[in-house]
Amino acid sequence: MTILRRRLLTGALGGGALLTLAGCDSVSDSPEVQDVLGRVEGLDRWLQRRLQGRDALAREFTAADISREFRANGSTSVDDPDYQRLAEGGFADWRLTVDGLVQRPLSLSLAELRAMPSRTQITRHDCVEGWSCIGQWSGVRLASILALAGLQPAARYVVFHCADTLERTLDNSGQYYESIDLIDAAHPQTILAYDMNGAPLPVAHGAPLRVRVERQLGYKMAKYVMRIEVVDSFSSLGRGRGSFWADRGYEWYAGI
């Protein structure tokens, strides 16, 4: 092999490596590339659903496992004056709206929710950032609320509209919202929690009501839930991807 070929081969490899590293950001920034990279989300969801089955439970821990410090992430308070008035009144006047593709729209008070059969679970909360905390959650199963309202045949997703604005935007797209499909909505551990560690949910953790979706990451577990809307598609909500964080590039299915 000649010196020239030698140099060419070495140069090509070295140059290729440098280009790869330097080109990463321009490749990363391309919407087409992001779209291709994001396609595996569907594969991941399909595979995890097959492996889990519908009712596989997230592990439940004991009271001794509860974290002393449970980090509050995302919004830890709400600026909305209406919400603040409700909070000052101990959420006595707060009502949960259930509407959309349901047979009987509902408006439920906290007392009415507390009067329904409850479920208590001690579970691990995994943040997308990488940390985990264990807490105890009590609330009413989402499936019970949906049974009360009755789903229309076209229903496919359950959307949680929240009181908090996590990002200030002119078009109000910074309002927090989340959505799950009917498989997660029917899961026994999917609850609307009003108690945390045996006490009413603190404001930092989403008072008066937050969702628990135990087989997914923390950002799915919307806080400050004001309204539950049943829809057939979330394309008209926010930026159309089904959740505040999905609108910002995160996976809608957060099982990973």
Binding site: G38, R59, E69, W131, S132, Q216, L217, G249, G255, I256
Partner: protein
């Protein structure tokens, strides 16, 4: 003595090797991006924010991460996409390597090779590498290192990676049990990735020291020139005496 050229690496080994290079580099870079969102390590199921096992302050510099600025969402997209490619590539290598006997023939050391381990370590420490006929096969240090990487570190990466997924933990509750909790799995994922990076550094150093161009070509075209036998001074003396 005429130089002898052999076909050293099969198409399978060469192809999967370079796919590996691409995937592993980008996995480490996107992995550091993800790590930077919470640059601390813990043991057990949960995080101890006040007293983590390891606290890396601000984490890795951004020129090392993918993308090269703070973006957890995009880092995750890269990581999970590449992980599939990496695993499928590794499975193809293992499957064809097992059927085609590459693993048993080239990677599993013979008893004689295992016995030569102390000698091989001493030789490597002097930067003297197998030559002539001995250079036809991986030496025993290579064999053992590659086996540890292929059969221990890489499966560990995959298993601890899956354990960090709440969805996988619901499907296989024994996963976090196996590693002693999700945060321990995250720490093992980090440690095992660090060992793989260390392996890569040593591997590259060996590639350079034992004949950079010859090695590189053998992984691109497959052709490898057997390095000529070294004639040591001791042997010359011995031969003269006898």
């Amino acid at each position: 003595m005429a130089t002898q050229t052999i076909r050293r690496h099969s198409v399978l080994v060469r192809l999967t090797h370079w796919i590996n290079v691409l995937c592993f580099t980008l996995l480490v870079m996107s992995g550091m991006q993800i790590f930077n969102a919470h640059p601390a390590l813990d043991v057990g199921s949960t995080s101890d924010f006040a007293h983590p096992l390891v606290d890396l302050g601000d984490g890795f510099p951004h020129w090392l991460t993918l993308p090269g600025y703070q973006d957890l969402a995009l880092g995750r997209r890269w990581h999970f996409f590449l992980a599939w490619l990496f695993v499928l590539n590794g499975l193809a290598y293992l499957l064809v390597g097992l059927i085609g006997r590459h693993v048993r023939r080239d990677l599993v050391p013979t008893v004689a090779e295992l016995r030569s381990l102390p000698h091989e370590i001493a030789e490597h420490a002097r930067l003297r590498f197998p030559a002539g006929e001995a250079a036809r096969r991986y030496n025993v240090l290579q064999q053992l290192t590659y086996l540890v990487v292929i059969l221990v570190l890489l499966p560990l990466m995959l298993a601890t990676g899956l354990t960090m997924s709440p969805g996988m933990d619901a499907a296989f509750p024994w996963l976090p049990e196996l590693f002693g909790g999700r945060q321990t799995a995250r720490t093992i994922h980090f440690a095992s990735a660090s060992l793989l990076v260390l392996f890569t550094v040593v591997h590259l150093a060996m590639v350079v020291l034992s004949g950079f161009f010859n090695n590189l070509r053998s992984m691109v075209t497959g052709r490898y020139v057997l390095p000529p036998e070294r004639v040591s001074r001791e042997r010359l003396t011995r031969e003269r005496v006898s």
